[in-house]
């Protein structure tokens, strides 16, 4: 089942339409206070979205074939204002099996949003917790910076602001938002948050949107649909693929990120260019080291502007 991307957004947009219905039904409206997100418009029904990701490793070539750094990470860095050096979604390049010349494959790793999350279990102050949508959140205004959650995370998916994080003035001055983790706060932990502010608004996480190979699906386990930005599919269609697994399944952490095994063999094959018989060189190098965090450049640019106040540069 392939659906147009517009339908996907419509699908997620049902929430907005339903809000109107809920408005005329007092019971439904009152039953739904604002969730932990503190949004103005209450959700449509009693159904709470259960976000999950499916990453199709058959399509992921770490963007090596495109000769660019992994675009999921790059888009995440920019759009989530990720502090210098942190990679909330990081593309690893593990060896494929132990046979000689088996080569390697690419493994994009966002926060796994474990349902039995070791980080949530060990937090002494309840600063990291599950949202009703199954996303692990961090309240950086409560976090004491003990880093036990980082020690507990088996996926290295938590990052610490060791010093005052470099950020653009607008972000630094913004009122703190637990959902977007802006502004970044010194001495606290940060991580991938599944961009729930974007998905609620009918959009997609930055990494899903940016993936040029459409390898990442964001889905709702409750409704059973998922999208990679190019098509909308039933969740079960993805999850019944051979060998679908969650990373380190045997640890019992119950992640919300699923992987369809592969080694990038389908990367770019559904592009229009591919249909015309063009094929990118598979030997291109993985450019993870060229990832950028623009904050320093932005700051020095802003500093170079003659008049800081009022923005009236001559």
């Amino acid at each position: 089942m392939n659906v147009d991307r517009r339908d996907v957004l419509k699908g997620f947009g049902v929430a907005a339409a339903g809000a109107v219905v809920a408005g005329v039904l007092p019971d439904a409206a009152s039953a739904h206070g604002s969730e932990e997100e503190g949004v103005a418009a209450p959700p449509v029904s009693d159904r709470v979205r259960q976000w999950a990701m499916v990453i199709d490793l058959r399509r992921c070539d770490g963007c090596a074939g495109l000769a660019v750094p992994p675009q999921c990470t790059q888009a995440c860095n920019w759009s989530r204002l990720v502090p210098d050096g942190q990679q909330w979604i990081e593309v690893y390049e593990p060896e494929s099996g132990h046979l000689p010349s088996a080569g390697s494959h690419f493994l994009p790793a966002p926060c796994m949003q474990c349902q039995n999350a070791p980080c949530v279990n060990v937090c002494p102050v309840g600063a990291t917790f599950h949202s009703p949508e199954g996303v692990v959140r961090i309240d950086q205004e409560r976090c004491i910076g003990c880093r036990l959650c980082m020690a507990a995370c088996p996926y290295d998916r938590r990052f610490f602001n060791w010093g005052e994080p470099l950020q653009i003035p607008d972000a630094a001055a913004a009122p703190y938002d637990v959902e977007t983790q802006v502004p970044a706060i010194e001495g606290t932990v940060m991580k991938c948050d599944f961009c729930t502010d974007r998905t609620r608004a009918g959009g997609m996480p930055a990494c899903v949107e940016a993936c040029p190979r459409h390898a990442i699906y964001i889905g709702d386990l409750e409704e059973g649909i998922a999208t990679n930005g190019a098509e909308m599919v039933e969740m079960r269609e993805l999850l019944i693929q051979d060998g679908v697994q969650r990373y380190k399944e045997d640890l019992g952490t119950e992640p919300r990120v699923y992987y369809i095994p592969g080694h990038g063999e389908l990367a770019g094959l559904d592009d229009a260019a591919m249909a015309n018989g063009h094929h990118e060189a598979p030997s291109a190098t993985f450019m993870k080291d060229s990832l950028e965090w623009p904050w320093e450049n932005i700051q020095s640019y802003l500093a170079s502007l003659p008049a800081a106040e009022g923005g009236t540069a001559p």
Partner: protein, 455 residues
């Protein structure tokens, strides 16, 4: 009380009360030196407060080695706190008469080591300003909460256990130091001795209180270090994820605790001229205990490494590789050779079984146990959990080193201050067991129990 005739060349009261009356020049010099080191640490911490944990070596490890020297010191100091209370309580319960001149020192070490140890999680916090969130929002599923309450309980218990047997001695201070020390000190001794007169009723109450505290403090002490280990063992990390950690930490704690007691004993004996009371026999007896715990540690290490090394599950080859032959090998083999084997030899070979040999063994054990704590904390964190190529490198910054050294100085200074204002030996207990301390053979059966103190 003080009317009792001295049974040995030096009178216990004269010797014990001398440093309380007037500080020696050496004491002032020593304390000043320690204050300088502490000042350096305070300066380093002020930099860390200003610039955050970015000034530590941990910040350069791409979030991989998120704990380093501070947590190592935390485990180490909480460990040596076992010197006191546990050793003193066990010796008291087993009616080991030779314990009497050393129990007070051991109990000082406990209280001071705990006070120093709890500073390190605070040094390690990214947001020390939010420290009290642990009380405001504390949640029981977190091992940090367990730690907080276990250590707090142990601290209160240890202070009580230090204080109770000191009451008769404080009364002696009150009586004998009147007019010798400052007014405030006189008031302090008077208030703290709670009107002790040594009446039969008072003695009975004290004996039962001490007896009760002995029994309560042992499970509390064991709990504390078990719970400290659970900070690590409650994670899924290779090296930490093992059931042996609780007892392993308790064993290591007692081991390093005995070693610290021997070192402190040697220093205080020299400074305060306690040779008549703290004899070779005390060193030899504690040396034997040290050797026994070296064997216990060997047993734990073998149990741990053989069960993991036989199967080599998951990342175990990486973990064991870096310990046995990799970047931690020099530290680990130092621990094995200088921290376990050499101390056993020093204690068991007759030629080296003297004070100097045993103190050497104790110093080696303390250094080795610190290294072993460091390996526990850092080696596991360096095992890659994700498929990345090069493992993280951690080297502590000068800030971390300065703060650690100043904590050691603070430890020494607190011991010095304690012994400057409070009697360093349990005078009344030494007196009760007077016949025992001059003999060289243990005579457990003749020693009256502390619960039955003759009046």
């Amino acid at each position: 009380m003080s009317a009792e005739a001295p049974t040995r060349p030096a009178d216990i009261e004269d010797v014990t009360l001398a440093p309380l009356a007037r500080p020696s020049k050496a004491f002032r010099l020593f304390a000043t030196g320690l204050l300088v080191v502490i000042g350096l640490g305070i300066y380093a911490y002020s930099i860390q407060l200003r610039r955050g944990l970015s000034v530590t070596g941990m910040a350069t490890t791409q979030d991989k080695v998120m704990w380093g020297l501070y947590i190592t010191n935390f485990v180490f100091f909480i460990g040596i706190s076992h010197a006191g209370t546990l050793i003193s309580a066990i010796l008291r319960l087993s009616h080991a008469g030779w314990r009497t001149p050393i129990t007070r020192m051991a109990e000082f070490i406990t209280v001071v080591a705990l006070a120093v140890g709890v500073l390190f999680p605070i040094f390690d916090l990214g947001r020390p300003d939010r420290m009290l969130n642990v009380l405001r929002f504390g949640r029981w599923p977190s091992p940090i909460l367990w730690d907080f309450f276990a250590i707090a309980t142990y601290f209160v218990g240890s202070v009580m256990y230090l204080y109770l047997p000191m009451i008769p001695d404080l009364a002696t201070c009150r009586d004998r130091l009147a007019g010798v020390v400052s007014r405030q000190r006189e008031h302090m001794y008077r208030a703290l001795s709670l009107g002790w007169k040594g009446t039969p009723k008072q003695r009975r109450s004290l004996a039962s209180a001490i007896g009760l505290m002995c029994i309560i403090i042992i499970p509390v002490a064991i709990t504390v270090h078990t719970v400290v280990s659970w900070i690590f063992a409650m994670t899924l990390r290779t090296g930490w994820n093992t059931a042996i950690f609780g007892i392993y930490f308790v064993g290591g704690a007692i081991f390093s605790g005995i070693a610290t007691l021997i070192v402190v004993m040697a220093v205080l004996r020299r400074i305060y001229r306690l040779e008549d009371f703290i004899t070779d026999r005390h060193f030899v007896n504690l040396g034997y205990l040290l050797a026994v715990f070296a064997l216990v540690m060997m047993y734990f290490n073998i149990s741990e490494f053989v069960t993991a090394g036989y199967k080599l599950e998951g990342s175990e080859p990486v973990y064991l590789g870096q310990i046995f032959t990799g970047s931690f090998a020099p530290l680990y083999w130092f621990y094995v050779v200088a921290g376990l084997i050499v101390p056993i030899l020093l204690v068991t070979v007759r030629r080296t079984r003297h004070v100097r040999g045993i103190v050497t063994a104790a110093v080696l054990v303390d250094v080795a146990m610190w290294l072993e704590r460091y390996i526990i904390v850092v080696a596991s964190l360096k095992v890659p959990q994700m498929p990345y190529a090069s493992p993280a490198r951690y080297f502590p910054s000068w800030i971390e080193i300065a703060i650690s050294l100043s904590a050691l100085a603070f430890f020494a200074l607190m011991i010095a201050v304690f012994t400057r204002f409070l009697p360093v030996m349990a005078m009344w207990e030494v007196r009760e067991h007077a016949t025992d301390t001059v003999t060289t053979e243990p005579i457990p059966s003749r020693v009256p129990s502390p619960e039955v103190i003759p009046s």
